[in-house]
Amino acid sequence: MAEQPQGCARVSGSVEGAPPDTQPPQELTKPQESNRMAARVGQKAPDFTAPAYYRGGFTSVKLSDFAGKWVLLCFYPGDFTFV
């Protein structure tokens, strides 16, 4: 996995197939919009690419690169939190 150059831009994970310039939602009164791609069991997992820290280096991780393997995908509230 190649080490990637690290700029100062605030990079984030992105969903494959989503519009490239995804703006944060301006109207919080429309949360149903965020459910358009909501994950469900029995359905294909939304593919993504995201910057990652991995074994001492910085890289990018893409879900579909793990095709053929089982993947445990874990979200958590934040680094340096207590649980």
Partner: protein
């Protein structure tokens, strides 16, 4: 996340990988690994700690909390075809039970290996009886499985 890292070997034995996500940058992930997690787990975190600062990935999985700007504790088991087989979402104050994720992966692997001919009853663990759904089992589950076997 240190609980997952500590038992990563078990997942590798099952041919499973881990990807973790929070809204912190990958730079903060490095600091958390170097200054705290590596003190709980020998060698530090062995899997990809991914960053979702804009919440795009969390939104796609239905676990991004817009009001707090954080990811909820969502856990997904994805099979080799890229299909979600299991999901669980907890609010932040309660942690997960890692052994249950292992058990579920083992159960889904058994079902997959059987080509869907076998199913695992409540509380199944490796070595325990499985069910073989079919005409002969209708109304006869009580003969092969009881709640006390859970």
């Amino acid at each position: 996340m240190s609980a997952v890292a500590a038992q990563y070997r078990k997942l590798q034995e099952l041919g499973a990988e881990v990807i973790s996500f929070s809204v912190d940058s990958h730079f903060v992930h490095k600091m958390w690994n170097d200054h705290e997690l590596s003190k709980m787990v020998d060698g530090g975190v062995p899997f990809h700690m991914a960053s979702d600062q804009a919440g795009n990935v969390g939104r796609a999985y239905g676990v991004y909390d817009e009001s707090q700007g954080i990811e909820l504790r969502g856990r997904f088991i994805i099979d080799p075809d890229g299909v979600i087989q299991a999901m669980e979402v907890l609010t932040p104050p309660v942690g997960r039970k890692f052994a249950e994720s292992i058990r579920q992966i083992q159960a889904f692997q058994l079902v997959r290996a059987s080509g869907g001919k076998e199913a695992t009853p409540a509380g199944w663990e490796p070595g325990k009886v499985t069910l073989k759904p079919g005409p002969g089992l209708v109304g006869k589950v009580w003969e092969v499985w009881k709640p006390s076997m859970e």
